[in-house]
Assembly symmetry: C2
Homo-oligomer: 66 residues x 2
């Protein structure tokens, strides 16, 4: 069965600008004040940030530094 | 142009169980210790919680109470 893969792109707010930090994000985990992002290629980024918003329709995850 | 809509379901961790709180979530916004969920039908829920994880592929947003 074919399944459409939803993916999202992660942005970090930096002086009111949204800076793309990881594309094709598949998994987001929050551990204390860190956010771990993993994309569909297995690339990982751990950012000292918190999730500000997530738009499923626009495929955008916005983080802000803590 | 037809566009596939990605949607996610939101769960709240409750004594290690995940309890579904809102289906077809389209937008998530974090304001302090509250998470606001809006679904594709315009239903809203505001929960005193934080985002624990988000799996894009599995369409699951998991919140935990604060």
């Amino acid at each position: 069965m074919e399944k459409y893969m939803c993916e999202a792109h992660a942005f970090l707010l930096n002086n009111d600008k949204e800076e793309m930090i990881l594309e094709n994000v598949d998994q987001v985990d929050v551990e204390g004040d860190e956010v771990k992002l993993v994309n569909i290629f297995g690339e990982q980024k751990i950012i000292k940030a918190r999730i500000k918003s997530f738009s499923v329709a626009k495929n955008r995850i916005v983080l802000e530094p803590v």
